[in-house]
Amino acid sequence: MSKNPDISVPPIPDEPPKVSLWELIFFFGLIGLTSFGGGLTAYIRRLAVTQKGWLTDEEFFSALAIVQILPGARVVGISVYIGNHLRGLLGATVALLSIMTPPFILVSCLGLLYFHYGENTDSKALLAGVTAVACGLMASMVFEAGQKSIRGVFDVMMILITFLLVRLAHLHVQYVILLLGPIAIWWHRPRPDKKDEAQKQKEAVS
């Protein structure tokens, strides 16, 4: 097979390429080692779709769509999906283990250090800065998530109701989702008239 980067559409998209388990371990292990920060799904896409050609763009975005409506960390979901796509259940297992092991070791070691040396002025000073930045990161995620989710008054109301249920009523996340999820899904239910309008608009534009 010639490796030509100009070929944007692989010849047989239905047949996943043969990839060794070692390659999967190396690929996802590396992502696990360096996995923090936004744009990680973009990074995985660039490596797996553009560079390695393990799956087509369409397959990747289809996978992303699944992972986005399911619970759990997006990076982990995408990795499991790609592993399964390439090597079945074994590939999915290998992908999950490879992406989780490096952060597990690193974070556990830091945790042991924290509990071993925890209560002294040095670590307290150090962590004051770390947690302040953590707070800033969380706040930035609120902005990003808000930007993506707010498209009307209903969305703003759902954000506020969710917040109040959790903060004031101390309702657990699973009950919040069971309670508000169906209401919100019903509100955003597919409406044929709307779709027709969108279709008409599209046609009018094109």
Binding site: S35, I66, P71, L126, M138, I150, V166, Q174
Partner: protein, 180 residues
Amino acid sequence: MIQTFGHLVALFMILSISAFGGGKVVLPTLQEQAVNHYHWMSNQQFVDLFGISIIDGPSMMVVTLVGLKACMEYGYVIAILGALVATVAMFLPSSILVLIVGRFWDSWKTSPWHESIQRAMMPISTGLILAAAFIIAKHSIHTIPTAIMGVIALCLMLFTKLNPVIMIVAAAGISWVFLR
């Protein structure tokens, strides 16, 4: 010990399949359970652990550290085992769900309900992340210097593409020098 493992598994398996919009959304419930219900740690320790956990890995590596702390009283070896149990319980159920849904995906990929679910769940996860941010803020922004650092981190995240790990390491250094 076995009982603690049982509590970890039960808690994280539920949180795993509730984490619509990523791991961060379960943070308020995790804090409530780990601090107020099971008394595994103090609020300050919880926020410290969250700060440590974001250095690497997918969102919610803090579950690893909650597992570690929950089993800490039985010694370091059991503590690491607890961390492992918590991590598996948090990441396995949602991964299995991806495999199951992935198998049936093609048949309802074109369904308009797909977009309905996505649009419906996003504001809910935003509200949950907002609640999580409040918890972290309450126990991390104590003084004017920490407030300034938090705001700077927020601005850097929103307006630059700086890697957050660099911010965390820099903040640790700065606060070690100036706040000690």
